[in-house]
């Protein structure tokens, strides 16, 4: 349970004991008196017009207490950059997991039966599953009238293309023409899933006009505003509480069913609980990792200099925008990578299809594009006759270098991560002919955002930290008492946390974007500084000394150098007046020259980027295509590491998750856009036994625009270059490239058997 270290000290995370012993309560464990159970009726066609919905038989079933369709609700569309979806289908269903109606009944069985009894008459529409063919002139439209939807002005509405983004620097065509070598590659990644161990659950209970919703969400504040918007009630009337969260990996970002369950509870006049099955967790959520088709072209000089990069990316948005409208531009930045490239022209299309919507899953778009780009970089190295590590040594960004949009970098540790990873994996050693080492580099931005926190000291000298931060299991929130304790010279155990409750703290972005320590941590430290100031003022008055002469240690405010002149923090707090609050200054997003870029959605420069090199040592069974990863060396620049054990845990988990993305995890769609493997039997996660040896090191250097104490994000980066490093190792063994992700045994076998590369 000791899963944290700070300042060399190990601490026990506050939620550790209840999680390890099984005493902890997750949303599905909660029940309320009189509670009814929710069930959804899903679309019977992946794309169809709804002609008629008849709920008579469902309503007549004994035990049914509510049936809700979109007709019962405000006519409101929701979504991030494009507002294209209603809570229940209105007129048209666009993917297999679309919700046509919701039912609440006294038993789960009755709810399921009632959902079945709803009669829906459809007129099937042409199904569009190919997100590349979605751009053909004669492709059926997923949203025929979407130019009328509310949307961000940077979102291009063109046929099925929801966003079009470019990254443009200089004249890539001219630069390409004068390159010594030009290398072109094409890669394609399948869709995949976040697969949190806890399928989601929502419990909603109304009191008058106010609703409390317990939800397994990563983003309680986004859920709150989504409920308020779609049900047309004030945010103040919506309280979202997250019990323990059983993982998310991005799959639990965005508004997810809180509003539907609240609507059912209001109609039923009872608390209503929804608990997803594993199949629903695969099919009905609007948050999977996007498939991407990538074409790269790089022009390089003999000495390795990268003079031109052209790339064209097509991404699979699925049926709705959700929070994932930014994916196209993010992918475009990853098609550049942390390299010095003189001229760039990358274009990225984000397209609708009649498939499950995609959204942010751990470092959205980055692992797939990195997997393509870093293989492409190895192909460039081969063409140049350079070792792949040497090519990277010559081309990675460093202090003073210009990014893809001419963002100028301050101190940045990517080259050090390369050297450390290569050293840890012992890159130059001799290996048997069926083993090889591959190296890949990636990056990921930190996400500056507002946050706020309160710290109350109680009369006995204990304290409460109130934060909007969301704990997803990483321990980021659990480390907060330690940081506060360090600021205030108190024991971490003196503090309890009041968190993931929208009624308690002010807005927070939630557990997404590797930003909990970066933003929420900053706010909590600012609140601690406020408390510290108040304690110093009180003690200075009491001891009649200057504030500057005081220090906080061992639960005392004491005079530096004469520790017997002190006043205990408990005594000061006894007056009941010590309440700190803080937000801290949000670090700036660096400027760039984005004049030539279309579709600017916030990813055009990277604030406090996290840099990663991973090296993978693999063994390939050429006859079967089975790949085993023996070791991964991970070297990261995530700034100053505040909790080494927690940070290492993120890398360990991220590497193992990356292994799944690399080798086995892919959602397979049929010709109708239905998932063929929506269960853990055939959606193959990596098991503990498949985990390689993982060696980790941190390049800790000062960073411009960093988070608290010089930190950057930690959670998403480990996922970024893992599949890429494995791919480069596999290609070294085979002498051929596997051009589709995941690199399943069959695909590796096919690549190994094929002639040429």
């Amino acid at each position: 349970m000791a899963v944290g270290t700070s300042g060399g000290k190990t601490f026990i995370r506050p939620d550790g004991r209840e999680k390890v012993t099984g005493a902890g309560r997750y949303t599905a464990d909660l029940a309320s008196t009189g509670m009814a159970h929710a069930a959804f009726r899903y679309a019977d066609h992946p794309h169809a017009r709804i002609l008629r919905i008849d709920t008579t038989k469902a309503r007549a079933l004994p035990g049914v207490v509510a049936v809700v369709t979109q007709g019962d609700l405000p006519d409101v569309r929701f979504g991030g950059l494009v507002q294209d979806r209603t809570l229940f289908a209105k007129d048209v269903v666009r993917f297999e997991g679309e919700i046509v109606a919701g039912v609440a009944a006294l038993t789960e069985t009755a709810a399921a039966e009632a959902a079945r009894l709803i009669e829906v008459e459809y007129e099937p529409l042409p199904v569009l599953t190919d997100f590349v063919a979605a751009m053909d002139a004669d492709a059926p439209l997923v949203h025929s009238d979407w130019s009328s939807y509310e949307r961000d002005e940077q979102m291009v509405a063109d046929g099925n293309t929801i966003s079009y983004s470019t990254i443009v620097k200089g004249d890539a065509n001219a630069a390409m023409a004068r390159a010594d070598v030009v290398v072109k590659s094409r890669y394609e990644s399948d869709a995949s899933q976040g697969v949190p161990i806890e399928p989601r659950a929502v419990l909603a209970e109304w009191r008058g006009d106010e609703v409390t919703i317990w939800s397994s969400t990563q983003v309680p504040y986004a859920a709150r505003s989504g409920v308020a918007q779609t049900l047309q009630i004030p945010e103040a009337n919506v309280r979202v509480v997250v019990p323990l969260l059983g993982g998310g990996f991005g799959a639990k970002c965005d508004l997810h069913f809180e509003a539907q369950v609240a609507a059912l509870a209001r109609a039923a006049r009872r608390p209503v609980r929804l608990v997803f099955s594993r199949q629903e967790e695969f099919r009905a959520i609007a948050q999977r990792r996007e498939g991407i088709v990538m074409e790269f072209e790089t022009g390089a000089m003999r000495d390795g200099r990268l003079v031109a990069r052209r790339a064209r990316l097509v991404l699979d948005k699925g049926a709705y925008c959700g929070e994932g409208g930014f994916l196209g531009q993010m992918a475009a930045m990853h098609a550049c990578g942390p390299y010095v490239i003189e001229a760039i022209s990358v274009e990225s299309f984000l397209n609708y299809s009649n498939r499950q919507p995609s959204g942010s899953v751990r470092a959205p778009t980055a692992p797939q594009v990195c997997w393509g780009l870093e293989q492409h970089m190895d192909e460039v190295a081969r063409e140049l006759g350079l070792d792949p590590v040497e090519l990277r040594r010559r081309t990675l960004i460093e202090r003073g270098a210009e990014g893809p949009t001419r963002q100028v970098f301050d101190e940045i540790g990517v080259k050090q991560t390369l050297e450390r990873a290569v050293e840890m994996i012992r890159y130059d050693r001799d290996l048997p002919e069926d083993e090889a080492i591959g190296v890949a580099v990636g990056w990921w931005p930190s996400g500056p955002a507002p946050s706020g926190a309160y710290i109350h000291l109680n009369g006995d000298g204990s304290g409460t930290i109130v934060t909007g931060a969301q704990e997803n299991g990483s321990g980021a929130v659990m480390a907060m008492p330690t940081f506060v304790g360090e600021e205030l010279g108190m024991e971490p155990e003196s503090f309890t946390l009041l968190y993931q409750d929208t009624a308690a703290a002010n807005w927070d972005m939630g557990s997404c974007g590797s930003q909990t320590t970066f933003n929420s941590g900053r706010a909590i430290l600012a609140a601690a500084a406020d408390v510290r100031g108040q304690l110093l003022d009180a003690a200075a008055a009491e001891l009649e000394v200057d504030r500057e002469d005081l220090e906080l240690a061992e639960g005392q405010v004491r005079v530096k150098g004469s520790p017997d002149r002190s006043v205990s923090i408990a005594d000061i707090a006894g007056a009941g007046t010590i309440h700190g609050k803080g937000s801290g200054d949000v670090p700036e997003v660096p400027a760039g020259d984005t004049g030539g870029c279309v579709g600017r959605l916030g990813s055009e420069t990277f604030a406090a980027p996290q840099l990663i090199t991973q090296a993978a040592h693999v063994k390939v069974d050429r006859e079967t295509g089975v790949v085993r990863v023996l070791k991964v060396a991970a070297a990261h620049d995530s700034g100053v590491i505040l909790n080494r054990m927690g940070a290492d845990g993120q890398v360990t988990g991220g590497v193992v998750m990356g292994l799944g993305l690399a080798l086995s995890e892919g959602t397979v769609f049929d010709d109708d856009g239905r998932q063929r493997n929506p269960h853990l039997l055939d959606y193959k996660l990596v098991t503990c036994s498949d985990a390689p040896e993982i060696e980790i090191d941190w390049v800790q250097i000062p960073t411009e625009n960093a988070g608290p104490r010089g930190s950057k994000g930690v959670g998403e980066p480990p996922q970024v270059p893992t599949a890429a490093a494995i791919a480069n190792a596999v290609a070294k063994v085979l002498g051929r490239r596997v051009r589709q992700l995941p690199m399943t045994p069959e695909r590796v076998w096919a690549a190994s058997a094929e002639v040429g590369s």
């Binding site: 199949q279 079967t624 089975v626 085993r628 193959k684 098991t687 045994p745 069959e746 096919a750």
Partner: protein, 304 residues
């Protein structure tokens, strides 16, 4: 809808419950997990047989093994006689699911679930095992080659209970193995599996059995592959020919787990490995249990 769940204390109780329409549940790792996944809904009446003491235990005699229906995969792997003389069966039980699956899943459930992808079937078939079946009208023996009639179906009446499996003792100088294609190191399901049993006489193969798993509607032997091996000296070209015959004798399907072309190619690769491992064991050489991970050097064993 009413569901009944009763627990039988004796075989007689169980048979009586079966007679009135109940389905037996042993470890539940097929029945319950299948229902959760929506394969088939849970039966309305269930009788738990897991507490019937007489259905447990492995008896090793001169004439062979008697496995109680409730013997778990974990018990099979731990049994020294199974490991030494019925090694292919140990290979199979050792790779069923995960530790938890092996601790709960029974041989009876494995056999009666009649999946063409289940792992112990190939070894049992090649060892000429038979199922002991009991009902209110008596006891009968069903050789395993007559037990499975199709995917998920058996020649056993729903009112009958499998009480045990008898495996005759092999003749000395016999080596056996079961090898499965494994994408992951745990929690796999057979996409391709091959059992090989060979008996050496002098330098040549006096008898051979080859069976395929997940490569046909039921687990079955491949006589053509066996014929290639019998009388040969066990050299590489003979093994390769038998492996080709194994692939030729299979009728693989196309699904999310693999294309028919890949499965056919893997049938040959895995057959070659299974036959080689069986031969090595017949010669007294050491091959790790499970053979799946050790037949490709280093893939499953210790990490680098």
């Amino acid at each position: 809808m009413t569901r009944t769940f009763t627990t039988a204390a004796t075989v007689e109780d169980a048979i009586e419950a079966l007679g009135s329409g109940a389905r037996p549940i042993a470890g539940g790792t097929d029945l319950v997990v299948g229902a959760r996944q929506g394969k088939a809904s849970l039966p309305e009446a269930i009788v738990a047989i897991d507490r019937i003491a007489s259905l447990g235990g492995i008896v090793e005699g001169e004439d062979g093994l008697r496995l109680g229906a409730l013997v778990t995969h974990e018990e099979i792997v731990a049994n020294d006689v199974v490991r030494a003389r019925f090694t292919a069966l140990a290979d199979a039980s050792a790779i069923v699911g995960s530790h938890a699956t092996r601790a709960h899943g029974t041989i009876g459930g494995n056999v009666m679930n009649a999946s063409p992808a289940m792992d112990t079937g190939g070894p049992l078939l090649c060892f000429d095992a038979s199922a002991r079946i009991r009902s209110t009208w008596g006891e009968r023996e069903v050789p395993l080659d007559q037990l499975w009639t199709g995917p998920g179906t058996t020649a056993v009446d729903p009112r009958e209970l499998l009480v045990g499996i008898d495996v005759p003792a092999p003749i000395p100088a016999t080596g056996s193995s079961y090898v499965r294609l494994e994408y992951r190191r745990q929690m796999e399901i057979a996409v391709v599996g091959v059992t090989a049993v060979v008996r050496l006489d002098g330098g040549s193969i006096a008898d051979a059995r080859v069976a395929i798993t997940a490569l046909a509607p039921t687990i079955r032997r491949v006589p053509d592959a066996e014929a290639v091996l019998i009388g040969s000296d066990g050299a590489a070209d003979g093994i390769a020919a038998a492996a080709r015959a194994t692939a030729a004798g299979s009728s693989p399907i196309d699904d999310v787990r693999g294309s028919a072309a890949y499965r056919a190619a893997m049938a040959e690769v895995i057959a070659g490995r299974a036959i080689s491992a069986a031969l090595a064991r017949a010669r007294g050489e050491h091959v790790e249990i499970p053979a799946s991970s050790s037949t490709y050097a280093g893939l499953g064993g210790a990490r680098a």
